[in-house]
């Protein structure tokens, strides 16, 4: 490369820089791996009288964690956050050990994690089954109306064409519809098997798209390459594109209400009351909105987005 003139080198640098820019922009979509750990070392110490609110390793969990911590602090109960602890196995253990006192969770998946044989499907069944299924020392507080779970989503045009409002309506016309979802949908209980057993629905084809209802799935749905997609109920793209979420009267997708998983020793009545009040006010629309602020183009800090919501709902000033 000895004969490269500076000008040419600058071209190469520019080419390399644009390649890097492209590479970086190609991976953004979901989470922000550089999310700051706002807690600092003090958070993990769990000093007496101070609650530690953990969260799982995805943005929605971190948002709800900030909501919990913000509401507790506003009510005069000292709470710090420890965001992005990891998957359920990791944070369950953290709560059991006492290094974390509160973690947001989803009722159905939490139940299946502690009792893989559980058959409960509706919100109430799961709520009733949870306390007994949880290991010693763990408890759950009141679940919020907010739910974050898989859902069958169609475009408005498809819904009108086949007169669909619930998956039940879809049963008879399923053979004309191509369904797109993550690959595991082909094998999980709630997936193709559940659709067939609960609703007699056998889609024309199953198209695995491995982005968790993300941009590629959305694009395929909007361009009618697929007619039905599995997208999480709290995904902003549902609302942004006027998509229709089909109802699930037979609870093929078991209820996944947002609720605080707590350590029963360290979370007292006062703190539980605050969290229960917060849960009562938290709706799926609120989560969609908060997700949009944090994971959308705006890329807001989860703490700021949570603080605004708390102010708006009167939990903080």
């Amino acid at each position: 490369m000895k004969n490269l003139f500076p000008v040419r080198r600058s071209i190469m640098t520019a080419a390399a820089a644009s390649a890097v820019a492209l590479a970086l922009s190609a991976c953004g979509a979901g989470s922000n791996p550089l999310e700051e750990d706002t807690s600092g070392p003090a958070a993990s110490s769990g000093a007496a009288g101070q609650l530690v609110v953990g969260s799982a390793n995805f943005p929605e969990s971190q948002i709800v964690g900030e909501l919990y911590a913000g509401a507790l602090n506003a009510a005069g109960i000292q709470a710090s956050t420890k965001p992005g602890i990891g998957s359920r196995e990791v944070y369950l253990k953290a709560v059991e050990e006492g290094s974390v006192d509160v973690v947001p969770d989803y009722s159905g998946n939490l139940l299946l994690a502690v009792d893989p044989e559980a058959k409960a499907a509706s919100a109430d069944e799961i709520k009733d089954a949870l306390p007994a299924a949880l290991p010693q020392g763990l408890a759950v507080l009141e679940p919020a109306p907010a739910e974050s779970k898989d859902a069958m989503v169609v475009t408005k045009a498809t819904a009108e064409k086949y007169k669909l409002t619930s998956i039940e309506d879809m049963g008879p016309v399923c053979k004309d519809l191509a369904l797109g979802a993550n690959p595991e949908f082909a094998e999980r209980e709630y997936g193709l098997k559940g659709l067939k057993e609960n609703y007699g629905c056998e889609p024309k084809s199953f198209e695995p798209i491995n982005d968790g209802g993300g941009p590629a799935t959305l694009q395929a749905l909007i361009t009618d390459k697929i007619q039905v997609a599995d997208i999480y109920t709290t995904t902003p793209s549902i609302e942004d594109n006027g998509l229709v979420v089909l109802e699930d009267p037979k609870n093929n997708f078991i209820a996944q209400q947002v609720l605080p998983l707590v350590s029963s020793d360290s979370v007292g009545k006062e703190a539980a009351d605050v969290l229960n009040q917060l849960s009562a006010a938290l709706t799926t629309e609120d989560l969609v909105d908060l997700n949009r602020q944090v994971s959308g183009d705006e890329k807001r800090n989860a703490k700021d987005a949570a603080a605004d919501w708390l102010k708006e709902k009167g939990f903080a000033e």
Binding site: L4, M12, P215, A216, Q219, K225
Partner: protein, 239 residues
């Protein structure tokens, strides 16, 4: 049961060897995607590489473009193309083509550029046209390096075609991506072994083909040229 026994059992299960999701069908799909990718990439890269090697024009441009292309993450490109163009066979294939062009281009360009200039001058002095120089002197002499580029490209494509299973295509990548989705390490391990074996077998076949395709008289010259023109190696390494 340990993972190796489980994987062996997975391979021995007769249901793995039939049907549209069986190993033979996935293998055929895998090879089909790889062949399509290589055809398109070769149609782009070889003419450009030969032209640049023969004329010496645009050398810097080719080196920088090829390096920049190589820096692009295939999975990111695949997602981008799927979002822009929609589901289908071609968006992922284009992403793979971009991965495949650099080694082919490098092989063609540096193979031609490394041909002893005195040979080329002699050919011209004998009255050969430029086409004849390229086809009868440069190309045969460049074949060892050029085929080396082809081998590198084939190996990369076979290993990377697995990413197309990220969307609704088949290939051996289905075992990896579906296995990961349902936390089935045995299936992933099986898929990884199949892809590695396929890459080794194909590379072995190409090595044999390369041996027979290259004129025996070139064997010595190759070694001498490598010593005399270290820049070739540098360019190849740089691309």
């Amino acid at each position: 049961m340990n993972i190796f026994a489980a994987v062996a059992e997975w391979f021995l299960d007769p249901s793995q060897w039939s049907g549209p999701a069986g190993i033979p069908a996935r293998l055929a799909e895998h090879l089909g995607y790889a062949a399509l990718t290589l055809l398109i990439a070769a149609a782009v890269a070889l003419p450009v590489g030969l032209y640049v090697g023969h004329t010496g024009k645009g050398r810097i441009a080719v080196v920088s473009v090829a390096s920049a292309l190589r820096a692009l993450p295939t999975l990111g490109l695949l997602t981008l193309f799927v979002i822009v163009m929609g589901l289908g066979l071609m968006p992922p294939i284009w992403a793979l083509v971009i991965l495949t062009i650099p080694p082919l281009l490098a092989g063609a360009y540096s193979g031609i550029a490394a041909v002893d200039r005195t040979l080329v001058d002699a050919a011209r002095a004998m009255g050969m046209t430029e086409w004849q120089v390229l086809a009868k002197v440069e190309l045969p002499n460049a074949l060892p390096v050029l085929l080396g580029g082809v081998r590198a490209a084939v190996l990369q494509v076979i290993a990377t075609v697995a990413v197309v299973a990220y969307i609704n295509l088949g290939g051996l990548g289905r075992f990896l991506i579906d296995g990961l989705a349902v936390s089935d390490p045995v299936r992933m391990f099986g898929g990884a072994i199949l892809i590695a074996l396929l890459a080794l077998v194909v590379d072995g076949l190409l090595a044999v083909a390369q041996k027979y395709a290259v004129s025996p008289g070139l064997a010595d010259r190759r070694h001498r040229q490598r010593r005399e023109t270290p820049t070739v190696g540098a360019v190849q390494g740089g691309i």
